[in-house]
């Protein structure tokens, strides 16, 4: 039985215990920011994001809210937001993708099917390759949208700008 199904055995932690629990993935994180007493940012590299997300979801037992993509000029970021409902703490896993030419990140929908669509949307809008995704069809852009143009990138290619003029 996976960790996820052992809900009854899972203890309810207060905020201090929650932070102490994060020691289990400390070596995969590049930093923890606590911007307020119910907001936690766990910074990590894209390669480690799968393990960190799996830990937060299956071991800590936080609920997946949504993921966000950011084009931060020098890198891409994918933010996975989780809510730990027992204390109301929102945990954000901030995965940094340094490779701007071929950005990629591992899909978390293998253990968290609710993330499938938002990962497809991030793929459409930012062109971040989602590795191991079960269904990588286009989700949000129109059928006639040119391949390889990602509208939410900071530097939209010239062809996209021309398309917009039409």
């Amino acid at each position: 039985m996976s960790d996820f199904l052992r809900l009854k055995e899972r203890r309810i932690m207060n905020h201090q215990q929650l932070i102490a629990e994060l020691a289990g993935i400390k070596d995969r994180l590049t930093g923890i920011d606590e911007t307020s007493n119910n907001r936690l940012y766990l910074n990590c590299k894209a390669e480690d994001s799968f393990a960190v997300n799996k830990f937060i979801f299956e071991h800590v037992g936080a609920r997946f809210l949504i993921a966000t993509g950011i084009d931060a000029e020098d890198c891409f970021e994918v933010l996975y937001h989780f809510s730990y409902d027992q204390t109301g703490c929102v945990i954000t896993v901030k995965a940094r993708i340094d490779d701007r030419q071929k950005p990629s990140i591992e899909s978390i929908s293998t253990f968290l099917p609710a993330a499938e669509w938002i990962e497809r949307e991030i793929h459409d809008l930012f062109g971040i390759e989602i590795i191991n995704h079960p269904d990588m069809r286009r989700l949000i852009l129109s059928d006639d949208w040119p391949e390889g143009v990602h509208p939410l990138r900071k530097r939209v290619p010239a062809e996209a700008a021309q398309e917009k003029e039409k």
């Binding site: 852009l141 129109s142 059928d143 006639d144 949208w145 509208p151 939209v156 996209a160 917009k164």
Partner: protein, 143 residues
Amino acid sequence: MNWKIWSLKKSPWVFHVNTGACNNCDIEIVNLLTPKFDVERFGIKLVGSPRHADALLVTGVVTRQAAPRLLEVYRQTPKPCVVFAVGACACETGIFHNGYHVAGPVDKVIRQIDPNAIIAYVPGCPPKPEAMISGVVKALSVL
């Protein structure tokens, strides 16, 4: 007045098309059918197919994906028909002006295939039900 126009004005049957609205205009349209406004007493009735309709009630900015579908619905509507652009987005794209996924306001898209389309504008975000009734009255009175 020819009989086609007479029958259109007597009881305009309306087909509702959402081409990318946030649902706020749609909720106000549903409001028109509630007992408070009850536009069916004027013979205005929502129908389930553009082939039955005298008027199209278009809400929302026309997105790239919705544009060919809106044109197809317009082709299927028997002419003469009136197109109502309901809300700020449908009238002139509103806050979505120059958005990357926007094909244009409703009038621009429909005039691509029918330059003489009869288009009525009901601005507002969302327009009040009274404004929509007034828009219908104004449009029908100039036909």
